[in-house]
Amino acid sequence: MIKFNGVVKTFKTKKKTVNAVNKISFSVNPGEIFGLLGPNGAGKTTSLRMLSTLLRPTSGDINVYGYDTVKSPKEVRERIGFLSSDMNLTGNFSPREYLKFFGRLNHIEDDKIDKRIEELKDYFEMNEFIDRKVGGFSTGMKQKTLISIALIHDPEVIIFDEPTNGLDIMTARQVLDFLRNLRKNGKTIILSTHIMSVAQKMCDRIAIVHEGQLKELDTLQNILSKTGTDELEDAFFKIVEVK
């Protein structure tokens, strides 16, 4: 279970103070795919960074499976896998070498890492490039590698910031299928996206955020019926304009 309780995040610069996240509260249940939907600058990435212990809330608190992100960051990090579409793998390591490295950083024994690599390799169809340098990889191959890295320690919570950004249609589908599969296995998935179709297809519940505030939180069906629309995109604009 993930709980956001009245979370506020303020960024101060010399010229101004920006409330990137403003008193957001919600909870995410185990085995659920929870979507944060909103335009760029809505506060999605900031929320996910706070959840993954990279940022501290200015006020309020975030709880992951009983652990506070500020008081017990190590315990929180044991339970999460974080991925952002901005990450870019380069250099001479192969996916296998990266996975071994991150497996060791997560204090997993070598034989268990090898076993996990085999599972991830088979699932993401990485056989052809698991031992090749990532330097020459396509965006899809890099994304598969990054997802595998985020999942190497088999976390209970998977946090994906814009998981399908820059992916071709085939890889995007593969990633989304994988997320559905993870849900079947009881994993909690929280993702941010600005792509309506991804939220519509994937999420059990959708939180619509705009200008740092939570504008709506419900299932797709309930959002559509509340707004009297047939498409999430229409509902989104109605909610953002009305509220």
């Binding site: 993954s52 212990t53 896998g81 901005d86 870019n88 490295f101 890295i149």
Partner: protein
């Protein structure tokens, strides 16, 4: 410690997989110095050979006197006289190598030897090595001829011409063999500068790539959301940068030594300055400097948005090292700047210089310098680890 080693090993492994970078850091400096010094040596040798074979064209107003003066010259000369000859123009155009004008009262070689006031003008052109060489030789032979004549006159008058060689002066240099070797060897004089320079320079590529580069590529966030502590990440990276600094500095100095030895035809004699004690202290100083440089580089790298910004911010460090390094090449450079011994990093340059040029090693100065460097490295490391925990720095990115 295990996490630190995991980070360190990954960085080393990653680097050594890139053959081009390994070549640039560890192999190229050796070849570069061998090539540079080898080329300089070859040029110098061929120039010396050429100067020896040159037929020196010398204009004069009295070939009779000059030919007598040059009897014992080891150079081939062609002397000529000509009316209305423009000496300056002909020298500048390199048509002649020298011009020698005797004053009018000197008619013969005997006049030259016996005259009370022989006045001679020698023209040379400093833009030509051949001109410099032959004019030096002419002036030396002129004095030698006069001295020989003077000595024979003294002997003829029943006196001992050896009186001209008095007093007998014996010079006694009390410097130790190690000091003499260092003072006479430009390589040793350059060593503090080169070591410091290469220690810093190596960090600029590798150090900033592993810190600012990771921020730029956003891969640092993957590390930070893992179970490894921030301090372990910092130490793993600092150890890696330190190792690369030391490897780069050592290979560069080895390359320089080999290159200079080739240039000097095997007579660089650099090894005489390295006693076991000197090597031990040198090792301690270099390690303390490497750790400090690595800590500074890591801090700048973590603060910076990109490798480009890190390089710009790191420039003052490089300038300070170059400045103090150049000063260190002067004899007794730090006699009036003892405060440098208490200044982090540059104390290493001072200590390395004094290690080779002073008779006694100052254990206190070396010990103090090493401790100061380690203390400051610790402070920078703690500061960098704190920066890792501070979102203001971690998310200070271009995106």
């Amino acid at each position: 410690m295990k996490d630190i080693m995991t980070i360190f090993k990954k960085e080393v492994q990653h680097l050594f997989k890139d053959k081009r970078t390994v070549f640039n850091i560890l192999v190229l400096p050796v070849f570069m110095f061998i090539l540079i010094f080898g080329a300089i040596g070859m040029f110098m040798n061929s120039k010396t050979e050429e100067l020896q074979k040159t037929l020196y064209r010398i204009y004069t107003n009295n070939s009779e006197i000059l030919s007598q003066i040059l009897t014992d010259s080891s150079y081939d000369t062609y002397l000529f006289e000509e009316k209305d000859f423009d000496i300056e123009k002909e020298l500048q155009e390199r048509n002649i190598h020298a011009a020698v004008i005797f004053n009018d009262n000197l008619k013969s070689f005997d006049d030259y030897l016996t005259s009370d006031s022989p006045a001679i003008e020698i023209y040379s052109y400093s833009g030509s090595m051949a001109s410099d060489r032959i004019t030096s030789s002419i002036s030396y032979l002129m004095r030698e001829n006069r001295n020989m004549h003077l000595k024979s006159l003294i002997d003829e008058n029943g006196l001992d011409s050896a009186i001209l060689d008095k007093p007998t002066i014996d010079f006694h240099n009390v410097a130790t063999e190690k000091e003499k070797s260092a003072q006479n060897n430009f390589l040793i004089m350059m060593l503090p500068y080169l070591l410091a320079l290469y220690l810093v320079q190596a960090s600029f590529g590798i150090g900033f790539d592993t810190t600012a580069g990771e921020k730029e590529r956003q891969t640092l966030t993957i590390l930070l959301t893992n179970q490894v502590s921030r301090t372990s990440i910092v130490w793993g990276k600092i150890l890696f940068i330190m190792l690369m600094n030391v490897l780069s500095a050592v290979t560069s100095v080895v390359g320089l030594t080999i290159g200079a030895t080739i240039m000097m035809g095997g007579n660089s004699n650099i090894l005489a300055a390295f006693t076991p004690q000197t090597v031990l202290f040198l090792f301690l100083i270099v390690i303390s400097m490497s750790v400090l440089i690595a800590a500074i580089i890591a801090m700048i790298g973590i603060y910076s948005k990109s490798v480009k910004e890190a390089t710009a911010l790191g420039m003052p460090l490089l300038i300070i090292v170059i400045l103090v390094g150049i000063i260190s090449m002067q004899p007794e450079a730090f006699e009036t700047m003892r405060w440098l011994l208490y200044t982090p990093l540059v104390n290493g340059i001072v200590n390395i210089k004094e290690l080779f040029t002073n008779a006694q090693i100052s254990y206190m100065n070396v010990g103090l310098g090493v401790i100061i460097n380690f203390v400051f490295a610790g402070i920078f490391t703690i500061a960098t680890a704190k920066m890792f925990n501070n979102e203001k720095y971690i998310f200070r990115t271009e995106n």
